[in-house]
């Protein structure tokens, strides 16, 4: 059966955090990978249950940090040795110990900026609208509702099978979510 390009995924609402945790575990065991759980508060162990994919953020932060480190040092080297050499107390022009504090701070600054901006970029933020808002009941997720969404991008996704599977988990309701 061909996939519906307009479908974002299938959303199931559960009674509480324990039911959601159990549903997530069953869905993962069943082979689904592209899914997410939504709840009003953090649930202990949830990310472990539904699978926590490795992100590329550490690499982004490392590159940011290294760029800051070398950029900061080379900036000072260029200023003190090449562009404007000054004899300060008879010290060598490339007085690297004096460059370390700025190099260190630049490393931290660039790594932190890379972490914040990289997190936003990898999450696809800022994002004024999300397909899940199309589901009428989803607004309650910030108050008292618990959802599990199996997304259409999942390799095993097939709408009717997913619906049947989610219904077998004893949810309150199951709805299709449009893009």
């Amino acid at each position: 059966m061909e996939k519906d390009p307009l479908l974002y995924g299938v959303l199931a609402e559960f009674d509480g955090e324990h039911e959601l945790l159990e549903a997530g575990r069953r869905a993962y065991q069943h082979g689904y990978r592209h899914m997410d759980a939504y709840s009003p508060m953090p649930i202990q162990g949830m990310s472990a249950v539904i699978g926590f994919p490795k992100t590329r953020l550490p690499l982004v932060v490392l590159i940011g940090g290294l760029a800051g480190c070398f950029g900061g040092f080379l900036m000072q080297y260029w200023i003190s040795v090449i562009d404007y050499p000054l004899n300060i107390g008879g010290r060598p022009l490339n007085s690297w110990p004096a460059f370390i504090p700025v190099t260190f701070e630049m490393t931290i600054l660039c790594a932190a900026l890379a972490a914040a901006l990289g997190m936003l970029a990898l999450n696809g933020l800022p994002r004024p609208h999300h397909p899940l808002f199309n589901a009428p009941s989803f607004a309650g997720v910030t108050r008292n509702k618990f959802f599990l969404c199996i997304e259409a991008t999942d390799p095993k996704f097939e709408r009717d099978q997913v619906r049947r599977f989610l219904l077998s988990l004893n949810p309150r309701e199951v709805t299709d979510v449009e893009q």
């Binding site: 107390g89 110990p97 004096a98 370390i100 504090p101």
Partner: protein
Amino acid sequence: MNDETQVIPVDLDRLQSRALLVGIAGLAACAIAAVSNHQQFLRSYLAGFLFWLAIAVGCLALLMLYHLVGGSWGFVIQRILEAGSRTLPLLALLLVPILFGLRVLYIWARPEDVAANTILQHKNIYLNIPFFLARMVLYFGLWVALAMLYNRWSRQHDGSGDGSWIDRAERLAAPGLIIYAVTISFAAVDLIMSLEPVWFSTAFGLMVICGQGVATFSFVIIMLSLASGRKPLAGFVTEQHFHDLGNLLLAFVMLWTYIAFAQFLIIWAGNLPDEISWYVTRLSGGWRIWALALLIFHFVVPFFLLLMRDIKKKAPRIVGVAGLLLVAHWAEMVWLVEPSFPPDRFHIHWMDVAAPIGIGGIWISLFVSQLKKRALLPLRHPKLAGVWEPAEET
């Protein structure tokens, strides 16, 4: 929760007896060599003593830190820290050879040298033998007293399950840590910095404290891994605990580097003869390579390794990093002590290795015997309510 990879199976009884043998052999070899080369023996012995003192006092400090801030990282290592703090009387005993060799080790203790140096005459009001001995008695008295209080309260709590004993431990934690920070700073000045009494640095005590943090966390990680196959730790220690301890170790590695570099930068920038001479000796010839190795193995390599979650979570890997840091800590002690003595060029003696091993063997033997005396977790703690029955305590 606890997979097999966290456990390094080691027979603690065998470790205890083997360590004692190694310790006696190491110290005996040093004692024989001391007859012909008394000064070298004392230098090596001082470095070895400082290495193990860092871990014993560090155990006391971390114990108080845990009681001050709490956290499951400290809960699983509480008994290791308590056993470590109970070895402080042994270190007081091990200090005796240094006290008998003050005139050999410290220039300020030799009247003929003091008479020839006006700076030492001015410093004589602080750096003289009776006052030095009194300070040592005070430091060790305070440390042993704190260790005894914490161990007694912990035993009382084990016996009665009365939470008021924990309250006492928590109330003493902040003042106890202040006492620790002040006494260990003064002890670092007395034992290490006064080897070159004209030189001074106000960051020195803090650098020693951070080094102790690195050494103690490394030691605790290794011991936790060795003991984690035993009940009741087995099945309770998870990779999350090693992850937390690895993060704390990383923090202390960075803090040590920060303070050590700050001290260097300030003295380097000032470039005053009295101050820079300390670094000139330590950064020339073979000591330069030694210092570079310190930078690499006390900071760069462990820093990058400890950034990785996969290394912090798997006990055999983090134990490897911790072992590396202990070696680096030994190298730091040698680097602090040895260049203070002539000749100025690089020199290392076999006793620089044998003395720390000798002291360490005896120390570890006592530590393991103390560790075995009590259950490896505080079984009456509210955190364990319902996990173990009191009957399992024996």
